[in-house]
Amino acid sequence: MFETLSNVFIENQLIVSFAIVGITMYIAYVISNKLTKGRIHGSAIAIIIGLLLAYIGGVTTGGEKGLSDISIFAGIGLMGGGMLRDFAIVATAFGANFDEIKKAGLNGIASLFIGVILSFIVGVAIAFAFGYSDAVSLTTIGAGTATYIVGPVTGAAIGASSEVITISIAAGLVKSILTMIGTPFIAKYIGLNNPRTAMVYGGLMGTTSGVAGGLAATDPKLVPYGAVTATFYTGLGCLMAPSILFLITRALFG
């Protein structure tokens, strides 16, 4: 009987994931209303449950894709993968106001450049404090601090060791996860309640998953504004880190 059940699950992966996510959200919203009296948004709790499940999945299988490494939950990988995520992010633009995007356009672009450079500097400084002193390793870790895609792309381009590339990916992952969890809690203190700030936020943080998750749990109305800038960040990082930022780092550290 178990075999039949598991076969049904495996053959209908995506449908299983709809059911699991729906149940998770139901539980999360009950926790939100009953235990926190609505103070912590249901989506934030659901994301934290998701991350916990991802951790359990990662530890039990040793894989890299969280819960979806467990075969009966593989549909989660499809539902939460890049294709549907980007599709849904584009769809959120349906509710966005183009005038708001235009108004905050310059702030958004400025925040993109500042975000990439700021993340890079923080990464390089901390890597240096941890004893790395060669330009290649420093640049790779700095790039990983931008996003977990910029790190390995840069590392591969300038010939970093695989150990350093791994650290750079992990740093980007920590950033992304912390942004997802932390955004709804910090939003009040940094004025994150209007489209302009959301666009600046997307540009500064840059991690599409982090910004997408964080804003969803803060105020879904802000999602398109944050996402529209965040999606340019990784490209900009991949452009700047192995070129100009690497040259500057090499000039400073030799």
Partner: protein, 142 residues
């Protein structure tokens, strides 16, 4: 028809991703430069154009609205896909770097968004029901 909206959304996304890839190629980098962002801008402009001319039926709007409303569940599925174990295995350097950059970036948000803001929070014109979630629950801090 509902599929018209979904197809419009798909065409915007494919065009955006394609342009993003081409942009990456022309800059000589292995990444999609803002493909999703371009797609979003396209969708906003096209929807605006069609709505003004009354060419976008209710059903077609529902087609886009459905995927917009699926956004939060998809993000939750995404969170369950993250390599959390990998992030924690990255050692203290990775964890400290990740935490530090988030905290420092947060501090920069108010500085960068200051110039003549605070006016626009009230006039966001969004059809709340299509984004999903109850509006009463939207703000976590009351």
């Amino acid at each position: 028809m509902v599929i018209f909206g979904v197809a419009l959304l798909s065409i915007c996304m494919l065009t955006g991703i394609f342009l993003g890839e081409m942009m990456g190629l022309s800059l000589g980098i292995e990444a999609n430069v803002g493909g999703v962002g371009i797609a979003m801008l396209m969708l906003v402009l096209i929807v605006d154009y069609l709505k003004k001319r009354d060419k976008l039926s209710k059903a077609a709007q529902d087609g886009v609205g459905f995927w917009s409303a699926m956004y939060i569940p998809i993000v939750i599925a995404m969170s369950a896909n993250q390599n959390v174990a990998g992030a924690l295995d990255g050692g203290p350097l990775a964890i400290i770097t990740g935490i530090a950059v988030v905290l420092i970036s947060w501090m920069f948000v108010p500085i960068l968004s200051k110039s003549k803001s605070q006016t626009s929070s009230e006039n966001i014109t969004v059809d709340n029901d299509i984004i999903g979630g109850k509006t009463t629950n939207v703000r976590n801090i009351k």
